[in-house]
């Protein structure tokens, strides 16, 4: 049973009952843990057509077999549910310390079901588990909530995952924040938590987790640590500049979406780059549980110290909104963290609103005196606040860019896939990445098979970004491997330094298996297909494997990638074939049988 605690907490918020269940370990291994295992539970227990914000939806906090272990970066957990934003399966990953603490308390997973009558929070202190009243913190910001609940339970070392006012108000782009700054950000998981009147989960765990083979684990971990130390990305680039080191790389390639993807290059990128952030605002690096990379940034602006912003956040608020003002970007990031909003979706929704305003669709009367003009520092800060507080047009914007643009009859101006806002790369100039985001089960997301790595960063090898040759195969392998890393409970950034065989060695040593790399990847493929099946049952048809019209019809107007469009129509049939699906993009019975689902 090593690696897993073997216990699940099932919390019925409607009647307040809390049960401990035994985890079937062979089932856990089949779906690895974390994202995979929780998705299995959702597919078994939540009818796909359930109203995501209704009592029938469930919300699962799920750690992996390596979460809480001695494996470097083994602190990750997943929040899995049906997304109210996209209607797809949602699985949002977060780092920090919360996931490890949950495992140390003795649980692999918490399944929340039903809906509490009054605002509540769950407090776990090893074996003692209770639902408590959250009346005093309802309506409060994330940091105030976190501090107040730690004080209330009287455990300095407790870890808190909480929603802010945005989740309470059911914003479809609401996040769940742990340790104040780490986010299970995407797909509106915070709204599901809010719909259940669940303000927070507070956990303190003092148990220790042993690997199946301690000696072997020690040796494998030593080898992995060495690779992380030897790799320039994990040993130098990420610690020195954080994820924002990408600003200039992506801009120089001409795939840095600017002004709601109307352009893909800006001469002003360096004003809000990782280099500038490190020069002017960085106080110190921060790290998640057992992480030797420490890519986190503690930054200071106007006397306020807080963590972030990450690359994607900088892009969303800077180039995408045409604002080259780091203090304003940092303030907007801090507001997202406090209100509990996904920074990518929030920034990208403001960018979409700016285009709607520029085109005369949003009228001045709707703006309460804060024009949504591209380039306005005031707009990105104030409209983030309004979205978080649900004020005026901000309440509509808090439902994400798709619903906003659709309400003005121009849904195509939402730069999203399956209603989830696209991140910081223009698919037109990077073909494999475009295929990846078009086919990702949770919608427009970059971290479900990060093709930017080989296509732009040259890791683990360089492949031509504008070519479509062989890309379907790359996308499949990257998607499957990522599903495994997410399910193990490790940080994806380790994949810059280690490969499938290393993950397999870590899994084997901790869990006590003798899997091959191929078996681990097959588990990833199983997870991917299971997610796809949930989406199909939820009515998300393969025709949703698409990119915004702009990205397939309008060539990039200027810059190093001028003239390029995304060739999705050519790539999609290759991808379905690579996956062994029907020509219509549906997993067939033989494929599912071969994967054991």
């Amino acid at each position: 049973m090593a690696g897993y605690c073997g216990k699940i907490l099932r919390v019925n918020l409607t009647d307040g009952q809390i049960k401990q269940e035994t985890l079937d370990i062979s089932l856990a291994k089949k779906f690895v843990g974390g994202r995979g295992l929780a998705t299995y539970f959702i597919t078994q227990e939540v009818p796909a057509d359930t109203d995501a914000l209704g009592e029938g939806n469930k919300l699962i906090f799920s750690a992996g077999p390596l979460t809480g272990s001695k494996v470097p970066t083994g602190g990750r957990y997943m929040v899995v549910t049906k997304s109210p934003l996209s209607g797809t399966i949602a699985s949002s990953n977060s780092g920090g310390f919360f996931g490890a603490e949950l495992k140390h308390a003795g649980y692999d997973m918490i399944i929340f079901e039903g809906k509490s009558e009054k605002p509540c929070y769950l407090y776990i202190n090893d074996d003692v588990v209770e639902l408590k009243c959250a009346g005093k913190v309802w309506g409060k910001m994330v940091s105030e909530t976190t501090d107040a609940l730690i004080a209330e339970v009287g455990e300095d070392k407790a870890r808190v995952a909480a929603i802010g006012p945005a989740g309470e108000k059911l914003s479809l782009i609401a996040s769940i924040m742990n340790e104040k700054y780490r986010a299970a950000g995407r797909s509106g998981v915070g709204a599901v938590m809010g719909s259940k009147n669940l303000k927070a989960v507070v956990v303190r765990g003092t148990g220790k987790l042993a690997a199946a083979d301690e000696e072997k684990a020690k040796e494998v971990i030593k080898g992995v640590m060495e690779k992380i130390r030897q790799c320039d990305v994990t040993a130098k680039g990420l610690p020195a500049y954080g994820t924002a080191v990408l600003v200039n790389v992506i801009n120089e390639t001409g795939i840095y979406p600017t002004k709601n993807f109307m352009e893909a290059y800006t001469s002003r990128a360096d004003e809000t780059s990782g280099e500038t952030l490190a020069d002017k605002y960085l106080v110190k690096n921060t790290a998640c549980y057992r992480c030797p990379i420490a890519c986190g940034r503690l930054c200071k602006v106007d006397g306020v110290e807080a963590e972030g912003p990450e690359y994607e956040t900088i892009w969303a608020y800077s180039a995408d909104c045409g604002v080259y003002d780091l203090p304003a970007v940092i303030k907007a990031n801090n507001l997202c963290n406090e209100y509990g909003l996904d920074t990518i979706s929030a920034g990208a929704t403001i960018a979409c609103a700016m285009e709607l305003y520029e085109k005369g669709l949003i009228k001045d009367e709707e703006l309460d005196g804060v024009p949504l003009e591209f380039g306005s520092s005031e707009a990105i800060v104030e409209w983030t606040r309004k979205m978080g507080a649900g004020e005026g047009l901000g309440a509509k914007m808090a439902m994400g860019s798709y619903r906003l643009a659709e309400s003005y009859g121009r849904a195509e101006l939402s730069m999203s896939v399956k209603k989830l806002e696209l991140p910081a790369y223009d698919p037109r100039g990077v073909q494999g990445y475009g295929l990846q985001v078009a086919t990702t089960n949770r919608g427009g997301c970059h971290v479900r098979g990060y093709l930017i790595s080989p296509e732009i960063l040259g890791l683990p090898e360089s492949i031509a970004r504008t070519s479509i040759e062989g890309k379907a195969g790359w996308v499949k392998v990257f998607q499957d491997l990522t599903a495994v890393i997410d399910s193990l409970g490790m940080c994806l950034f380790t994949s810059f330094a280690i490969g499938a065989d290393d993950y397999t060695d870590l899994f084997n040593a901790v869990v006590g298996e003798e899997w091959t790399g191929a078996e681990l990847l097959k588990a990833g493929e199983r997870i991917w297909n299971m997610e796809r099946m949930f989406n199909l049952a939820a009515g998300i048809e393969p025709c949703e494997d698409k990119l915004p019209k702009r990205l397939v019809d309008e060539p990039i107007p200027a810059g190093p990638s001028k003239g390029q469009v995304h060739r999705l129509a050519e790539l999609l049939p290759q991808y379905y074939k690579e996956r062994g699906w029907s020509e219509e993009g549906k997993p067939c019975a033989e494929k599912l049988a071969a994967l054991g689902i």
């Binding site: 990305v233 680039g237 080191v245 990782g274 960063l457």
Partner: protein
């Protein structure tokens, strides 16, 4: 002739962000890096006019050469 060299991340330390560098016809990317004393082993990403380029690539007047150490994020 000149080419525009843009340096990023740690390559800026003690050097510059952007500069027109004098070269001669036939100069390669590697030659320019040598002139700037940038160790080849530390180079992660090379771009000429936004396209990935090799050390052997011959530069033309007005080319933009962008040089990054190995970086990642996301």
């Amino acid at each position: 002739m000149t080419v525009e060299v843009r340096l990023f991340a740690s390559f800026r330390n003690g050097r510059f962000k952007m500069k027109d560098v004098e070269t001669e016809a036939g100069y390669s990317v590697g030659d320019v890096l040598g002139k700037l004393e940038i160790p080849v082993a530390e180079v992660g990403i090379l771009m000429v006019n936004g396209e990935s380029a090799a050390f052997e690539r011959t530069l033309a007047a007005g080319d933009v050469l962008a040089v990054f150490p190995a970086v990642g994020g996301g």
